[in-house]
């Protein structure tokens, strides 16, 4: 296995280089075994497209989304103000991230604390790369697969990004299919609002089971996601239902990394 360097912002800065983009990996992308694969795939695409980027590495910390939604505004603002100070010190102008929660917090909430960054979600970033001709996708890898897309709440309803992920999937296969509840009607995976960190309240079903049952009703063999939280929940759901043979869950980034020309 050949190793490639992932540029670290502090090291670039010490050498007097200022990368154009900060790739904000996010907590799940840094530490969750499944989501780490998305981070790797994204770096693979970034190098293939010769994007000038760096990551914060050990200096990265939680953006504050889960603690804020759990009501801890104090801790959120401490995280946010620390991060904003650090990013200003590194003169970061553009941030790209594949976590819709980090994306939403940076884009919509940090400006209240005097942050001025351009924030781009990975799906938009990849679509731009395709449009610029830098990212070339092999249409033959997944063209036999039936792919459905699970809308992440923090991309869709929260930020009105519905078409971009679908456009990317359409470059991979002609067989994109939709679940009954999709786009602004999409059902949450159950992880947002800090639910990921607690036991669910008393009910008759887990939310991710409700969603995975809906996925299994349609004839898709790949469920594409664009959020590491959704990925944790849906992958769990597939395992829970013992349907790993029938359907797999990938981030759109991973699908594209496998289809690089």
């Amino acid at each position: 296995m050949e190793y490639i360097e992932v540029p670290i912002l502090s090291e670039c800065f010490a050498k007097g280089k200022k990368p154009e983009y900060l790739f904000w990996v996010g907590c799940l992308g840094s530490i969750d075994d499944r989501a780490k694969k998305i981070s790797r795939a994204f770096c693979q695409i970034l190098s293939a497209c010769e994007v000038d980027y760096a990551i914060l590495g050990k200096e990265e910390t939680c953006c504050g989304d889960p603690v804020r939604r759990a009501g801890n505004e104090m801790l959120y603002q401490m995280q946010a103000l620390t991060i904003i100070e650090m990013l200003k010190m590194y003169e970061v102008k553009k941030i790209v991230t594949f976590c819709p929660h980090c994306f939403n917090t940076f884009k919509n909430e940090y400006p209240d604390l005097d942050a001025e960054f351009e924030v781009i979600h990975s799906t938009i970033f990849l679509e731009n790369l395709v449009e610029q001709g830098k990212l070339k996708i092999n249409p033959d890898i997944f063209n036999k697969n039936i792919i459905t897309y699970h809308d992440a709440c923090y991309l869709g309803r929260a930020n009105n990004i519905y078409d971009t992920p679908r456009n990317l999937i359409d470059k991979l296969t002609g067989n994109r299919t939709e679940m009954n509840r999709c786009r602004s009607y999409a059902l949450c995976c159950g992880a947002g609002g800090a639910q990921m960190f607690k036991e669910a309240e008393k009910g008759n079903k887990e939310i991710f089971i409700e969603r995975i049952e809906e996925v299994l009703e349609i004839k898709a063999d790949i469920i594409a996601t664009a959020c590491p939280y959704c990925m944790v929940m849906l992958s769990d759901g597939i395992k829970y239902k013992n349907e790993e043979e029938k359907i797999s869950n990938y981030d759109i980034i991973e699908l594209i990394a496998k289809s690089l020309l």
Partner: protein
């Protein structure tokens, strides 16, 4: 002349009761927190699209159309109602007929819409009685809330019947067709069945009075009913939040404290040391913003929010509709006492315990499906987060898993227990 005097007395009585209601409501609004409203141009466009265009109600296409027809009908018919008030006060008849062709179009469509609304309301009543609609049920839906719905639907039904009766006998009591002002296709047809008796002129007066009295009664019932939305939904849409649904409002009082913590030298410059610190978040009805309370009064309990809530769908207690109903009920209970006894009044109850409990507060995934679905742009998740803010920052209360996530973020910068030293491990495994 006698008719005129009776009418004016009735009108003054109606306006008097209505003003009393509004006066009381304003007193309740004064208990709530401020909430800035800017950008009126954009709001106007949203109002055109979502309120007048009914864009969100069309998310359920068939029912959406049925509701839209009722709404548009109301808009047209209310012009006729205004004319009736002018006629009643001035003792004239059809006082707006000088508007010419516009007048004819309005009365024409008012007559047609009266029949359409009549059919729609009959269908709505039938649907409530005979079909078991899931979203009309739930722990918050009681006998009283159902009764409230039936009262409003019956009132509207009677309003439309009296309007058609009034139009029909107006036509049939006029011997000279040339004297008839306006054009009424449905009522014209009805005259072929029921009109042409000697009592027609009296029947016209009868239905005229029934119709206007129903309007006056309806207007004074509405503020105490879930159907207050007849008045409030258009303004509520005008006042809707303009930011993306994903955004939470910043707590500036927290920013102040955090900045002092991060940079202690600024502490001395930080304003009045004697200022009473404001409560963080929402514990009870008086902690909400006036916009939250406006939402609660506007909610007509349609339950579209609850029907898409992932927590509710999977059998949890959380129902976004219940939050709006609880806030309204709690304000009705505590508000007048706060006005009477002052801000320190307490009754050992609170919105976040006896009404919208911890179990409900913590079940929300902030997915915003409820806010997306609400036809009048109510925002439930931001209020739920405000309730969490109170629990966490004022009482240190949170589910154990969330408390652990807090301490992990504080100690190692991630909601999981994972050293920041290990944040780069994934880069060692990249291959190309």
């Amino acid at each position: 002349m006698i008719k005129q005097i009776i009418f004016i007395i009735t009108l003054l009585l109606t306006l008097g009761i209505f003003s009393y209601t509004i006066f009381n409501l304003i007193a309740l609004f004064k208990l709530t927190k401020t909430f800035p409203i800017r950008n009126f141009g954009k709001r106007f466009l949203i109002m055109l699209k979502v309120a007048l265009g009914q864009s969100k109600i069309f998310r359920k296409p068939v029912l959406g159309l049925m509701h839209a027809l009722v709404f548009w009908g109301f808009c047209v018919i209310s012009v006729g109602s205004i004319e009736m008030v002018i006629d009643g006060v001035s003792g004239s008849e059809k006082s707006l007929s000088f508007l010419g062709i516009i007048y004819k179009i309005i009365l024409f469509s008012g007559d047609v819409f009266a029949a359409i609304v009549l059919v729609m309301i009959t269908l709505f009543i039938g649907r409530r009685v005979f079909l078991k609609i899931k979203r009309f049920n739930g722990i918050e839906m009681t006998h009283k809330t159902h009764l409230d719905a039936y009262i409003a639907l019956t009132m509207i039904l009677l309003l439309m019947l009296s309007l058609l009766g009034m139009n029909t006998f107006y036509i049939s009591s006029n011997n000279n067709i040339a004297e008839i002002k306006g054009f009424y296709p449905i009522s014209n047809f009805l005259t072929t069945i029921i009109g042409n008796g000697e009592e027609d002129a009296n029947l016209y007066q009868f239905f005229w009075w029934i119709h206007i009295l129903l309007i006056f009664i309806f207007a004074n019932i509405l503020p105490y009913s879930k159907h207050f939305h007849v008045f409030l939904s258009v303004p509520n849409v005008f006042l809707s939040r303009l930011e993306p649904l994903g955004k939470l409002y910043n707590m500036d009082n927290v920013t102040k404290e955090v900045k002092i913590m991060m940079n202690p030298e600024t502490a001395y410059a930080a304003g009045d040391p004697n200022a009473v610190p404001e409560r963080f978040g929402v514990k009870d009805a008086e902690d909400v913003s006036w916009k939250n309370y406006f939402d609660a009064l506007t909610c007509t309990q349609c339950g579209r929010c609850t029907s898409v809530c992932p927590a509710n769908i999977t059998g949890k207690k959380l129902s976004p509709r219940k939050l709006m109903m609880d806030l309204r009920a709690r304000m009705r209970e505590k508000g007048p006492e706060l006005i009477k006894n002052g801000k320190s009044y307490a009754d050992n109850k609170s919105l976040n315990k006896e009404y919208f409990s911890y179990e409900e507060i913590w079940a929300c995934t902030t997915c915003n499906a409820c806010a997306q679905e609400c036809p009048v742009n109510i925002n439930h998740p931001s209020l739920i987060v405000d309730m969490r803010r109170y629990l966490v920052m004022e009482e240190g209360e949170a589910p154990s898993g969330i408390k652990a996530a807090f301490s992990n973020v504080e100690n190692n910068g991630a909601p999981w227990q994972f050293s920041s030293e290990d944040r780069l491990l994934w880069t060692k495994e990249i291959s190309q």
